[in-house]
Symmetry: C2
């Protein structure tokens, strides 16, 4: 198959669009393609096209959009927003990559009480922009024509406030340790009929505080994964795989 | 809770046992425990006990086994053997760790046509011993009282031969790309009634060859995961989570 690039401006056959800088560099410097080369482009919002390189050089890469194509990867019927506590070092990069490859609709990074990083530090470090680039790369690699949005990091309180105000897709599912909450349900007890959309909330290395669990229990269900102790960075992909399995998305 | 150690010789209350060298070092040098300290031990075969340090020093650590305890982590009802193609660099270490934390019964490392390593190199590098140590650490961390056996690495042909001879637990489930095989089934189409035991086979970075898929199709079912493209090292934990979800183990 022809090489595949992210072209956010590609909307219809006949469009003449520029590739973003990273994509242009990939096309010219890594793959060494030139004017005339046949490629594929996807616009990050679900559309994919055959395309042809019109011009490639110092001024960037211009591409003629041709025939519309079926994207390689089918999108999940459930739009899952992953509200994920920020993890140590660069571990959220890997979580974003795997969650995008699995098929999430969006990622909302959150700073929990036991996240070992401050919101201000994430903003100064322009982490959201980096995670968004990771999401583009993962969409390219996995054949998705949708690039999930990586939202600006927020506090845990902001997540519960958004769920209460229904500005995040509900119903929310918060994954907790079995010992953490009496009112939790096992994943096996969730309704196997998939919702149209949901927000799943996954915690940091040190787990949730009692206060966080209490506040969340008012706006979402508390779900356990069979008493297993997993690494914090394995949790989101395990929970996502398990949810998609019971909803027959796998 | 008291610190927890692997004591393979602990079988019954009253036993006086030595801890293995790694565990003794952990007890004396990391946790700095001394004679009289209350600990917990598990024997790797499903038994867990209260215990007390009898002597700790240059000659090793001797422990008196006391009352039998319920292990922290419940074992899965399905005994899953993960037959996993060896991956690049040290990635199989992480796969072994996560698979043990998820609850596999055993791991059989295999060298596939596209594994970029030779069986002889694995044996020279004493990799099986290293993976077994990873399995002990993961069992400690996840509260399992069973240490899954990491078998000696074998060729792919040996895996299919063992499945055919039923010296590996069947039915076998081989995870394949959707494009790879016409006769594959989606995970959602598997019987939700859990088998007593099974072998799941997961491939290397480059995927299976046509010949491998053909040979395997005679002795196991070919299963796809909804057309998703995942990293090779994410595949085993995703497949395991999905299987445990449909079998109501999560």
């Amino acid at each position: 198959m022809h090489a595949r690039f992210y072209a956010p401006d590609a909307d219809a056959a006949g469009d003449l669009v520029d590739l973003p800088e990273d994509e242009a560099a990939h096309l010219t410097r890594v793959l060494r393609l030139r004017a005339g080369a046949a490629i594929r482009v996807f616009n990050g919002r679900g559309r994919e096209f055959d395309a042809r390189v019109e011009r490639a050089g110092k001024g960037g890469v211009h591409v003629v959009v041709e025939r519309s194509r079926e994207p390689l990867a089918r999108e999940a019927r459930v739009a899952v927003t992953l509200a994920q506590a920020v993890l140590k070092s660069d571990k959220l990069d890997e979580v974003v990559r795997d969650a995008v490859m699995m098929g999430v609709a969006a990622v909302l990074p959150l700073v929990a009480a036991r996240s070992e990083v401050a919101l201000a530090a994430l903003q100064r470090g322009r982490r959201q922009q980096r995670w968004q680039r990771v999401a583009v790369a993962a969409a390219k690699q996995s054949g998705r024509a949708i690039v999930p949005r990586i939202m600006d990091p927020v506090t845990f309180d902001e997540v519960t406030a958004r769920l209460a105000a229904m500005t995040l897709p509900g119903p929310g599912l918060m994954f907790v340790e079995p010992s953490a909450a009496a009112e939790s349900v096992a994943l096996a007890d969730l309704d196997p009929a998939p919702p149209r959309e949901t927000t799943m909330i996954v915690g940091p290395e040190g787990g949730w505080t009692r206060e966080e669990i209490e506040r969340a229990s008012a706006v979402c269900r508390l779900v356990t994964l069979g008493g297993r102790t997993l690494r914090a960075d394995a949790m989101p992909v395990v929970a996502l795989a398990a949810l998609f399995a019971i909803w027959k998305e796998l």
